[in-house]
Symmetry: D3
Subunit: 184 residues, 6 copies
């Protein structure tokens, strides 16, 4: 699995959740996590969470850290959501290791009861994808800025690299586990 | 998903990782997480991790908290291991919320560099299972006792209930996510 | 699995076969069967059965009982069609229990050789869906009216509730069946 | 899918539920339903239903019609149980067409409140299997004899052939159904 | 699996890779390989290979042999690509048996270092599809004409029939293989 | 995917087809193809092909090239057999490139009408495996010795490396293919 840091700023508009965005943009032919920084503004037609859509939610932020994960091994919502939660946990662990007690509820991170992140996961017939975004600056919600975190790149690097390492570690564990039988 | 606290002490000998142990013991016909306390001694024939088997590892503890998860929705190592990591993360979060900075590496928890837990996941043709064990007392490794945690039941209850709640939360999220298309 | 009776009249135009219609309309986050009454007129673009499409079939009725089933556990035509047939069988059993000898051929019900129902099943990457419609009134085909059935609500209630109960019953059976080995 | 009538009497002892029994016995290399008549006595080690096993049920009959279904397309309990229910429905329809009002509850058939049949379904890593048995003679439970049905072969033939025809009909329907999109 | 020779000329424009094209055109309700001859010109919107799309490749030929494979058993890129490679191998074997040493690299065939074929595979939620095209005439690339092969129909017939036979042979082998256990 | 050449001689007795043999022997935690040379003698209990078992086939050779493939991505006979055929094709291509016209029929290779190889594929709940064996010396059947091939290592190396490269190439192609829609 490749962990790619985009370098340039990219505004997240929801189109990037489409399958093969990473290939189109970076020609990566591995499972991947693409990490980038940029604004967030998702028009209705790109909203994957129907809850947001029917409630006409405005998902916007002037400056976010974005993580876009793509797995091709198994196009299933079951595995997509388990991995999404794992990514949220990993982000929480990164903050803990930096000295910030961030709490997680489902796929959301909170700091001092302020919502710090947004996330969605879904699948096409060819790949599962996850978007996870952390506010860098934000008036309405919690943000890295409000938390006093200045080294945004460190957060980005830790989350991206740890998720990729976690996935590879799971793939190795899968290859040393005997099948189960029924309890006798 | 049912969260069941066994009440009685049960010695974990590896047989409980077999599919349908929970049904045989508790007649539960849901996905389930069974939580119990007891010793741990796994003979070679019940070892699922071939690494332990070929290195002739001794997996033993006089007193552990055990969590046995069983899911019937998709017998796949991919989803089994993603959920196992999630269970390890949740356990870490429970300790954090109790004021203990426990670190996680893959499916292992550490406190003050001492290994606190063991875990395995695998699948039969009918169900995925996870075993996650936390030392209550242990000479060789880290334990709740060494950490100074006396309310073992609270740890058990928090981990069991949060995992079950997390699973149900994911199942709800799965039912409001639109399928993806290819990036244009 | 939730069984929901819509209450209001809803005209079936084929859009309701789309994934997440039930969530959009009723905010249900379970597998579900939505039961409602209303007209039926399916424009070409919403036809899922390509046979109807290429033969330019007119699928219309002024008044039907509609059942829309959605399962998220396994997006597969194999399981979708097995469940569709089961729904057709259950409808047939409901009529038998009401004293009407309705015969089934595939996914169609017949009474006195008159076609009483229409049905389709398919899958998106996120959910399997089934539409099953029974004519309440209809000039061209058989209908509840022609059969002399006045208690349309009873038919609706029985079919909806029995299908949901059947699914839950299967889910329980799945959780007490040992895996098979090869014949020796 | 092949429908094979064994001709000879075969005592069902539970071993026939093993994957590839049909190949071993009849060298059939298709999905198949094998129909035969014979006694039924299942020792504990061959019991697939753990409920029977823990309650130490005696599953016995001196003379039964047996149907053993094997599908290789998708080793999944989800599809195995949907097809098992369908087989039970088909058996019920056959009785209805012969003029007997048999009721179905899950995978069981009843006549005059007497239990007429037994059934189980499960999967190995290579195939799904279903056993469905109908008492021909039986002291304790309902039987074809008690129902007054003398043409046992006709029952056998109808159930076997209709199930095979139903499967082929579903396979054809699968090949004319467009994929679904999300509801807009 | 049906092998159908279209008879008439059909220009391949990429639309034929869509699921259920074969049903729409030939009303076939089996897995199928459709063999036809005609030009090839694929507009951007029908390009499945994103590599071609982003590099703005022109995929054109005045006269090609086309093979369109559709399988409904398992909508998975994993199985789609394994079968695509197998089709390319079979085509190579047909040429070998006709006395031409054609080499294969992935899904491409080469003769005298000239590229002779194009191919793509993908999946929708309902079926896997493969397109494999062999130049009959072509200025830029290798072609049957340049190889001196005049009996184009024989090439078409051999490739189509052998692929269908291979698939059926695999399906038979699947139905006589015992499941594996873990190495002891 | 790792291609490992065992170095030492290993007698193939059928136990090596068990899941996780490669991990147990070589501690490899990737999908893998293990290549080795040694005798072949498969006792009945290790026979996976039930056809051989019921016909009491003797599968023996004093000296063979063995290839054992293991994939963990999808425990399915469908994908296992497609990859097995591909391995047989690749072996055939290797011989062609060495100047020997070997023909393939299903999973068997023939030279001058003499059977040169044996093969089987199957799956456990955790991995798919393939065994492919080529006679180096053999009285009864065709062999590399009879063909006059002395550089047995070159054959081994080419087949092992090409299969691994083919798999990686397919995995890359999977990651640049857009999902399909229905034909309009």
């Amino acid at each position: 699995m490749k962990c790619i840091f985009a370098g340039e700023r990219i505004g997240y508009d929801g189109s990037q959740i489409g399958s093969l965005w990473a290939y189109t943009k970076f020609e990566v032919q591995d499972d991947n996590i693409i990490c980038f920084r940029g604004s967030c503004a998702i028009p209705l037609k790109h909203m994957i969470d129907v809850e947001d859509k029917i409630h006409n939610e405005k998902i916007e932020s002037p400056d976010m850290l974005h993580f876009i994960v793509e797995h091709f091994d198994m196009p299933s919502l079951k595995v997509a959501y388990a991995r999404q939660r794992l990514l949220a946990c990993i982000a929480g662990e990164v903050f803990k290791d930096m000295g910030y007690s961030v709490s997680r509820k489902g796929d959301d991170l909170f700091y001092n009861n302020g919502k710090l992140s947004i996330s969605i996961a879904s699948t096409s017939p060819v790949s599962c994808k996850i978007h996870f975004g952390i506010n860098v600056r934000c008036d309405e919600y919690m943000s890295l800025e409000k938390m006093g975190i200045k080294d945004v790149d460190a957060v980005q690097k830790q989350i991206g690299q740890r998720y990729a390492a976690e996935y590879e570690d799971m793939e190795r564990d899968i290859r040393k586990s005997r099948p189960l039988e029924a309890y006798q």
